[in-house]
C-alpha cells in the first residue's frame, strides 16, 4: 500500500499540499483561456483532485522499475508513456465535463479549447515530478532498511562472540580446579582471558586473516579441553596458503563451538574434531567434522550455523556457501568463501574473469 494512504492524517496533509499547485494551475489557465475566476475554479478543482490521486500511482510503477537495475531508456519511456496516458485521460474527461456544463458556463467551453494544451503540458510535468519524488522516497526507505539490517547483523555478531554457557561452564571448571589443582586453575583463567580478549578484539573487525580466526579457534579449544579432558581430541590440517585469506571475523569459531556442544559434549567417550582448510578454485574451503550421537537428547542445534550462514549470505551472496551433511555418526559442515588476499586464488579469479 502507498505510504501516504496508511493514515488519514498524512493523506489529508498530502491533499492540502495540492492547494498551492491548484492556485498556480488556475492562474495559468485563466490567462491562457482567458477565463473568469469562477470558470477557472469550476474546471481546476476537480482536475486537481483527480490529478492528486493519479500522482499516487507512480509508487507501484517506481517499485516495479527500480532506479538502479532498470535500463534508463526503458525507465524514461515507461514513465513518459504513463504521463501521456494520464494527461490524455484527464483532458478527455475534462472536455466531457466542460461540454456538459456548456449551457451554464458557455465561456468555459470556449476558453477550454485554448487552455487545453497548457493544461495537458502541466499535467504531464506534474506527473513526472511526482515520479521523481517517489524515487527519492523509495531510495530513502531502502537506505534506512539496509542501515537497520547492518546494525542488526552487528548486534548478532556481538552476541555470537561469547556464548554465556561456554563462559559459565568454564568458570565452573575453574571453580573446581581452584581447590584440587590451583596451578591449572590459574592456567585456565589465563587461557579464558586470552580467548575473551582476542574474540572481543576480532569482533570489532569485519574481515580478518584466516590465520587469526584459527588462532582464536585454538584458544577456544584449549579452554574446552580443560573442561572435557581426554574426551575432546582434535586434528587440524590447514594449508599454509589459507593463512592470509580474508574471512569474516568469528566465522569458524561458532562452527567449532557447535561441534563441541552438539557433538563431543553428548558423547560419553567424546571424539575427535577434524578441521581441514584448502585453497580451491572458488576460494577457501573449510571443512569441520565431528562425531555425534544421532539419538542424543535433542538440543537446539543449528542456531550457530544459521548465524554464520546469514552473515556469509549478507556479505558474499551466492559466491559463498555453507553445507551440512549428517551421516549416521559424523556431522560435517563445509564452508566456501571467496578468497581475498590469497595470491594463488586472486590470479585464478582474474583468469576466470578473463575467461567469462
Amino acid at each position: 500500500m502507498h505510504p501516504l494512504l496508511r493514515s488519514w492524517k498524512t493523506f489529508l496533509l498530502y491533499l492540502a499540499a495540492w492547494a498551492p499547485l491548484g492556485l498556480m494551475f488556475g492562474l495559468l489557465i485563466s490567462v491562457a483561456g482567458p477565463l473568469t475566476k469562477s470558470e477557472t475554479a469550476t474546471l481546476i478543482v476537480p482536475v486537481i483532485v483527480v490529478l492528486a490521486f493519479a500522482c499516487l500511482s507512480p509508487w507501484y510503477m517506481c517499485r516495479a522499475l527500480p532506479l538502479r537495475s532498470t535500463n534508463p531508456w526503458r525507465l524514461f519511456g515507461q514513465h513518459a508513456l504513463a504521463a501521456v496516458v494520464v494527461a490524455a485521460g484527464l483532458l478527455i474527461a475534462a472536455s466531457a465535463y466542460v461540454s456538459s456544463l456548456s449551457d451554464v458556463l458557455p465561456g468555459l467551453n470556449r476558453g477550454y479549447t485554448r487552455a487545453a494544451p497548457v493544461l495537458g503540458a502541466m499535467i504531464t510535468m506534474i506527473y513526472l515530478l511526482s515520479v521523481a519524488m517517489h524515487y527519492v522516497v523509495i531510495e530513502a526507505q531502502t537506505s534506512r532498511r539496509s542501515e537497520l539490517l547492518a546494525r542488526e547483523a552487528q548486534l548478532r555478531a556481538l552476541k555470537a562472540q561469547v556464548n554465556p554457557h561456554f563462559l559459565f561452564n568454564s568458570l565452573n571448571s575453574i571453580s573446581s580446579l581452584t581447590a584440587a589443582d590451583p596451578m591449572r586453575a590459574r592456567q585456565m583463567c589465563i587461557q579464558l582471558a586470552d580467548f575473551l580478549r582476542t574474540s572481543l578484539r576480532l569482533g570489532e573487525r569485519t574481515l580478518i586473516p584466516f590465520s587469526e580466526e584459527m588462532e582464536l579457534t585454538r584458544m577456544y579449544l584449549s579452554v574446552e579441553q580443560v573442561r572435557f579432558g581426554g574426551r575432546l581430541q582434535m586434528a587440524i590440517d590447514i594449508e599454509p596458503a589459507c593463512d592470509d585469506c580474508e574471512v569474516p571475523a568469528l566465522m569458524i569459531q561458532p562452527l567449532v563451538e557447535n561441534a563441541v556442544k552438539h557433538g563431543i559434549a553428548l558423547l560419553e567417550q567424546g571424539g575427535e574434531i577434524r578441521m581441514l582448510g584448502r585453497i580451491v578454485k572458488d576460494g577457501l574451503r573449510f571443512v569441520i567434522e565431528n562425531p555425534y550421537d544421532p539419538l542424543a537428547p535433542s538440543s537446539r542445534s543449528g542456531i550457530g550455523l544459521a548465524n554464520v550462514r546469514q552473515r556469509l549470505d549478507a556479505r558474499y551472496g551466492s559466491a559463498a556457501s555453507l553445507d551440512v551433511e549428517a551421516s549416521d555418526d559424523t556431522y560435517r559442515v563445509t564452508v566456501l568463501v571467496p578468497a581475498k588476499g590469497a595470491q594463488a586464488s586472486e590470479s585464478m579469479v582474474r583468469d576466470e574473469k578473463r575467461a567469462s
Binding site: N169, N172, S176, A179, R227, G229, E268, A296, P297
Partner: protein
C-alpha cells in the same frame, strides 16, 4: 544421607564431591557420567538425593528425573538458566546455576532435609507443563524404563498411547511399553499437529491413521496402518477433522 552425582564433566563432579565431603552424614553412593548410568545407579542404590546436570550423553537430566523413583529428591546443577521453569514443573527441589558457591549448595541440601518424606508429584497439570515449554518446542522422544534398562522411543515412532489407570501404554514398532504418566501430560508435551486425542483414553500419531469408520451413532473406530483399532469419541472425531482440515 545417600547421594548420587550425575554430570558428564569430571571437573563439575569434582566440585560437588568436594562440597559434599565437607558435610557431615553424607555418603556418595555413585558418580555417573551419563544419563543411563544415573538411572541404573538410582535403582541400585536408592539414594535420598540426586544432583543432575541437564545436558548429558544418552539421557538428559529431565529424562533421568522421569525415570527414577519419585521419592528421590532431585537438584539440578547446570550452566543454563532457561531450564529453571521446567525444573520447577518437574518438581525438582532446587536448581543450581554453575558455578555455585558452597553456601548456595548448602541451601539446596537444607531444602532436601525440609522436604524429606515428601513425594514428588508424578506430574503437574498439563497447562503448567505446556507453559514451561518454549513455544514450538515439543518432546522429540519418550523415555521408558524396561526393568533396569532404559528404552528411548522417538516421537515419530510412537503409534499411539493408551491410558491404563496411573499408567500409559505406549505402542511403538510392534511393542508395548508402560510408563507412569498421565495421558494429558503426554499430550501437552507432544506436538499437537502430529498427535491427536481421538478418545479420552487414546492419543494417536496422526500419520498412523489409515481410515476412520463409523461405529455407533456417536462413535467411530480408527483403523491404524498396522491394523489395530482405536475407539474415537465425538470430540475426538471433531479434533481429528479440524487437524486434517476435512
Amino acid at each position: 544421607m545417600k547421594v548420587i552425582i550425575a554430570d558428564d564433566e569430571e571437573l563439575a563432579r569434582h566440585v560437588l564431591r568436594e562440597y559434599l565431603e565437607r558435610q557431615a552424614g553424607i555418603e556418595i553412593a555413585a558418580e555417573c557420567s551419563n544419563g543411563f548410568e544415573a538411572v541404573k545407579a538410582a535403582a541400585e542404590h536408592r539414594p535420598d538425593v540426586m544432583f543432575l546436570d541437564v545436558q548429558m550423553p544418552k539421557l538428559d537430566g529431565f529424562e533421568v528425573l522421569e525415570l527414577i523413583d519419585s521419592e528421590i529428591a532431585v537438584i539440578f546443577a547446570t550452566a543454563f538458566d532457561q531450564y529453571a521453569m521446567r525444573a520447577f514443573e518437574a518438581a525438582a527441589v532446587d536448581y543450581l546455576l554453575k558455578p555455585y558457591s558452597e553456601d548456595r549448595f548448602r541451601t539446596a541440601l537444607r531444602k532436601v532435609e525440609q522436604r524429606k518424606g515428601e513425594i514428588r508429584p508424578a506430574s503437574l497439570p498439563a497447562e503448567l507443563k505446556a507453559a514451561a515449554r518454549l513455544p514450538g518446542e515439543y518432546l522429540e522422544r519418550i523415555v521408558v524404563k524396561d526393568g533396569t534398562r532404559v528404552h528411548v522411543i522417538p516421537a515419530g515412532k510412537l503409534d499411539y498411547a493408551e491410558a491404563q489407570d496411573d499408567y500409559i501404554a505406549l505402542r511403538s514398532e510392534g511393542k508395548n511399553w508402560l510408563k507412569q504418566q498421565s495421558i494429558a501430560s503426554l499430550e501437552a508435551a507432544l506436538n499437537p499437529k502430529r498427535f491427536v486425542r481421538l478418545h479420552r483414553g487414546y492419543l494417536v500419531n496422526i500419520e498412523r491413521i489409515a481410515r476412520i469408520e463409523p461405529n455407533t451413532k456417536d462413535t467411530w473406530i480408527a483403523v491404524l496402518n498396522d491394523g489395530s483399532k482405536v475407539p474415537v469419541s465425538r470430540g475426538g472425531y471433531q479434533r481429528f477433522n479440524s487437524l486434517v482440515g476435512g
